[in-house]
Symmetry: C2
Subunit: 352 residues, 2 copies
């Protein structure tokens, strides 16, 4: 049975929502768990869940439902971690200093083979650094990167890097393109994914130095990458490309601006419908339709982002993740174990 | 009477929609025009508009209406330009080579005092380069920048730079903060605007080298800038800040991702309502509400973005602008003449 290690102490709603999401996933997807964190807190959470269950939207927005999980029927291992890395700490220093932190021990459990993959919703920087240090880089990959799957009208588009590396070289972005390609093929089942460079104009020669250099590098091996040239922010959602490469600063901004815009629009719609009585009535009728759209784009459905380029599987979840998002993150981790995307990256780099 | 010069040949829908938007604005806002481009084409457009009017959404999305303008009653000067700078051309080279291009002559008309401000919907790079070369920099400003006004739930937020400079130094971003502040005060009437740095985390020390350096520079004069620290993409729309500084590559990506996300969501909503008969009915009822939201965020309402830091007023419009967007761009230009934002930037830099 696949075992997923979870940093039970990471994220805004840790430990309860994290533990709840993990056991929910274990029951639903048939995986074993390794919960890493303060043993007494984790045990309290498990006991509470066994007794009362927990409230969660169950994938539908709107009203919470009570979710019940028979915790005792699950294969759960608890690994005690006495320390926690906080959001503000410098990741590199923190993981060296806090060897008994939950994130370091979560990574260790994958490094030693006790678990098959890990999920972390705490500091992204710490999860990155711990994974890099604990699992090691795939030879030939200079820096691991986060693959973000953005929803579009048709199939999702992979933005890589989604925030692991703020300062990038053209060579790094070339490697992101290779990793994104393997992810797209193996995880999203896209046969010959199309690759683009995120840029601020269509024509070659547009954009900053990084985008220009990467354009030239990918253009040289156009067929290998199924390279489509530059992609503007507006076209990201139009399925011109399956993979879009950029540095982690820009990628993270894209991810969050998408989230922010969608959230603002839903708020605007809500407030517009509330402007008069007729509006409230129509708004009520329109609600199920709006819900379906919200579900299509809600980050909680995606659960987590894969860190590509390390020798092991790390799924990074949103810091705001509650049980439902964590459940989906565990699903992403399980799928990554099955598709072995990081092993395939290693093989592909070797034969390149 | 304020005279606005318009590059009649720039933009995807030039010359007809550009000329139509310009005369519409002239009639509605009481400004004089200087239309720059191929004389015969411009005259044809004016004749056609005088005779038949033109079709435009009039600020409401949905059905076009026929707009009628009595062209003969307006103060319109035509300046012939024999050349056009195309979208793909390298801006710097193009403006030096094509001295009789419409954009170069449009800028000239402001430089010589024939017009008070200009509107351009063609190549942003060419409009930038021509303005920089033709109008000159404000002393103390290293590079002009584009101020983008993004809609939010409450008041708009200014993102600067919106795409003028792909590669920036920390010093440039400091100047963007100064210019954005004067824009926000004078054009948007915000008394003591709050400034933030666009970044991928809240804490100091997050992000790429540029963001880190700018953070430190603004933090040193925290009160002067009413500096709020780092702002993430998600928070852009939450009015934590009135001005957000970033390099032009990131700013342009933000602008276009916002546009792309909103456009995708509206398409999703449309297609969701079309899924069954009941949906179509509810969709029909909901349409006026959705329209009002669309109008709040539609770039056509904003019309154009001001180029700050040059000795003159340049309004850059979306390449896809049609008459309605151009009409609003002329309004932005007229307001900039009235508020004299670039003169105030010059004064502020002198006293700094």
């Amino acid at each position: 049975m696949t075992r997923i290690a979870i940093d039970a102490m990471g994220g805004d709603h840790a430990p309860f929502e994290i533990v709840a999401g993990a056991v929910w996933a274990a029951a639903e997807y048939g995986v074993a768990l390794e919960l890493v964190g303060k043993r007494d807190l984790i045990e309290d959470c498990l006991e509470k869940i066994q007794k009362d269950g927990f409230m969660s939207p169950c994938g539908k927005i709107g009203r919470n439902k009570r979710v019940r999980v028979d915790v005792k029927s699950l294969d759960i291992k608890i690994t005690h971690a006495s320390e926690i890395i906080e959001m503000g700490e410098a990741p590199g220093q923190a993981i060296r200093k806090k060897k008994n932190s939950s994130i370091v021990l979560t990574v260790n459990s994958v490094a030693t083979g006790s678990s098959d993959a890990l999920v972390a919703a705490g500091s992204t920087g710490a999860a990155m650094a711990a994974s890099l240090f604990g699992l090691g880089r795939i030879p030939g990959i200079d820096r691991p990167a986060i693959a973000v799957t953005l929803p579009t009208m048709k199939k999702p588009v992979v933005v890589i890097d989604g925030g692991a590396n703020s300062n990038c070289t053209p060579q790094m972005l070339k490697q992101f393109a290779i990793m994104g390609r393997i992810f797209s093929k193996n995880v999203l089942d896209i046969e010959n994914p199309k690759t683009g460079v995120l840029n601020i104009g269509e024509e070659a020669g547009k954009g900053n130095e990084l985008a220009q250099s990467v354009y030239n590098i990918l253009e040289e091996e156009k067929e290998k990458y199924n390279f489509m040239g530059n992609i503007e922010g507006r076209e990201l959602f139009l399925n011109h490309c399956d993979i879009v490469v950029c540095d982690g600063f820009v990628g993270n901004v894209v991810l969050k601006v998408t989230e922010g815009t969608a959230s603002m629009l839903f708020k605007m719609i809500k407030s517009e419908f509330k402007s008069d009585f007729l509006g409230m009535l129509i708004g009520l009728l329109a609600k199920p339709f709006m819900k379906r759209i919200y579900e299509k784009i809600n980050y909680e459905e995606f659960g987590g982002m894969l860190l590509l380029g390390v020798k092991g599987i790390t799924v990074i979840s949103h810091g705001r993740s509650k049980a439902y998002a964590i459940k989906n993150a565990v699903r992403v981790a399980k799928e990554a174990v099955e598709t072995q995307v990081n092993r395939k990256i290693a093989e592909s780099i070797e034969t390149n």
